[in-house]
Subunit: 304 residues, 2 copies
């Protein structure tokens, strides 16, 4: 239960020696997701000793280069490392065509099935669902079509009160049904209510990724109550004119969204290189929201 | 006179924590050339404190990703850093179309003129010439169309014997013509031969880049007598079957080419990640040629 998040890059626009462009690695219920893939993401995956091959789903938020220019290289590496299992890629219209052209030009025929799921402009929808989690995409407000993603655990089975089950001599073959919510009748005809036989499962955890975007309260309904919100924070308020011009957010914007959406924690990232001291970002955000963290390349956060 | 060469990356196929894919920065007669641009090249340029903006010519040898996947990011950075001056890009057919699509998808209109010079398949030709140097492209032997490049200084002006010129009281306005080869007649009608008034200029230096390629003696005429030859050396002889299968060279292949072409120095690179000990490459090459160096990321070689 819960999730871990590795920050592979949290810079904006151009990579520097100290900061990669956007990329994150999320592990939730044993699924390994890559969110955005700026240039150098595969190097950072190696540096953080994350095994490439466990990633089966990649999500690309939008087509500005600092969010996907590492993708052709990563897919090439999958190919060269003889990957054969399916890879699901979720991204904006056009991404598939540029990847196809890229590989056609180098006469490369990927050794694994690359299954492309095209995001729909202006549409919020579930884009992935399995027995333990779901992923929703929703539109952000940026200079090109851009999407946020919410990764949501599903409610797990109830936890068996194994001490009581032993005392009552519940047959093992009943365990699964009880964990799914059934009451149980013993051989004397006594009904044991499920609420006594089990404990509530852990509350499902959730993570939302919002980058790149200007301040937009419309996203709040999609990220409502998540345990962790990554929201871009390219600028400080002092440079609000730049944020407005480029359709990015300030640290205050991010914090106000976190507050309205009643998330638990806010993680700031996508910092402009103009700020040498990122602590000012945190200080600014703390005026509007009380649980603020700063992303940094190589950081791992765990929510269990 | 002469040149310096910075190795930004000398790995092959996939980048690793220790080794970037192919990219080099050549400075010859104050021109700054970038040769290939694998993923992460712009980071290595920053790490080596090479000023991006001095690069006006980029040469891409072929369209395998490890030789150009850093190019979209580098061009984006030029754009974001407000470059306005022309950039000349020399590359294979198709490169322009994939770059155009990449930038169209992100709604990016480059702020500087990007002038594309398409290389002709199977053709050796001069692709750049100015008053002090020339660049020739020539076909290599690889699984996709691939070109080598020869960077050749032109003969400089003769050097004035300034001590003699002072003794003879040669007027300053004559200096330029004398350096260009003229004799000079003094006021008494005495002819002073150019050969006494000047020294020979330094011998023009040259550099050749050959990657990726299988062993091919056909390239020797194009790289004849260069001061430094970079020749790919992906494999050792023990793995010759892999070299033949993938149309790459062994260290022995590179050294035999260096010997036939009578170059001065050989620089090996494009090493497969399978070899932990690269000194074996040098040892193997030394059996066929006596001046062998190993490329490594961050290395700078100077030929002055």
């Amino acid at each position: 239960m819960g999730f871990s998040l590795d920050i592979l890059g949290c810079g904006s626009a151009t990579p520097t020696v100290y900061s990669n462009p956007t990329s994150q690695h999320l592990v939730m219920r044993d699924r390994h997701f890559l969110i955005d893939c700026g240039e150098g993401s595969q190097i950072e995956l190696r540096r953080m000793k994350i095994r490439f091959n466990r990633i089966n789903h990649i999500f690309i938020s939008h087509l500005h280069g600092d969010h996907w220019f590492g993708l052709p290289g990563l897919l090439s590496s999958f190919h060269l490392l003889n990957r054969t299992k399916e890879l699901h890629l979720y991204g904006p219209p056009g991404l598939q065509s540029v990847l196809k052209l890229t590989f056609r030009l180098s006469n490369t025929w990927l050794k694994f099935p690359l299954i492309f799921h095209e995001l729909k402009e202006g549409v919020a929808e579930e884009i992935h669902s399995d027995d333990s989690l779901s992923v929703h995409a929703f539109p952000l407000k940026h200079s090109v079509p851009s999407w946020g993603f919410r990764f949501q655990e599903k409610l797990a089975e109830r936890t068996l009160n194994s001490t009581l089950a032993q005392q009552l001599e519940v047959p093992i073959y009943w365990f699964k049904r009880i964990k799914q919510g059934s009451d149980w009748e013993d051989e004397n005809g006594n009904i044991h209510l499920n609420s006594t036989l089990t404990f509530d499962p852990p509350k499902p955890k959730s993570y939302a990724f919002c980058s790149d975007t200007a301040y937009s309260e419309e996203i709040c309904e999609h990220i409502k109550g998540v345990d962790l919100l990554y929201h871009e924070s390219t600028f400080l308020e002092i440079d609000r004119h730049l944020a407005e011009k480029t359709l990015h957010s300030t640290a205050s914007d991010a914090a106000r969204i976190a507050s309205i959406a009643e998330v638990k924690d806010l993680l700031l990232g996508h910092f402009s290189v103009r700020y040498k001291n990122r602590f000012a970002m945190r200080e600014e955000a703390l005026k509007h929201f009380n649980a603020v963290q700063l992303a940094s390349d190589g950081l791992t956060l765990r929510y269990f």
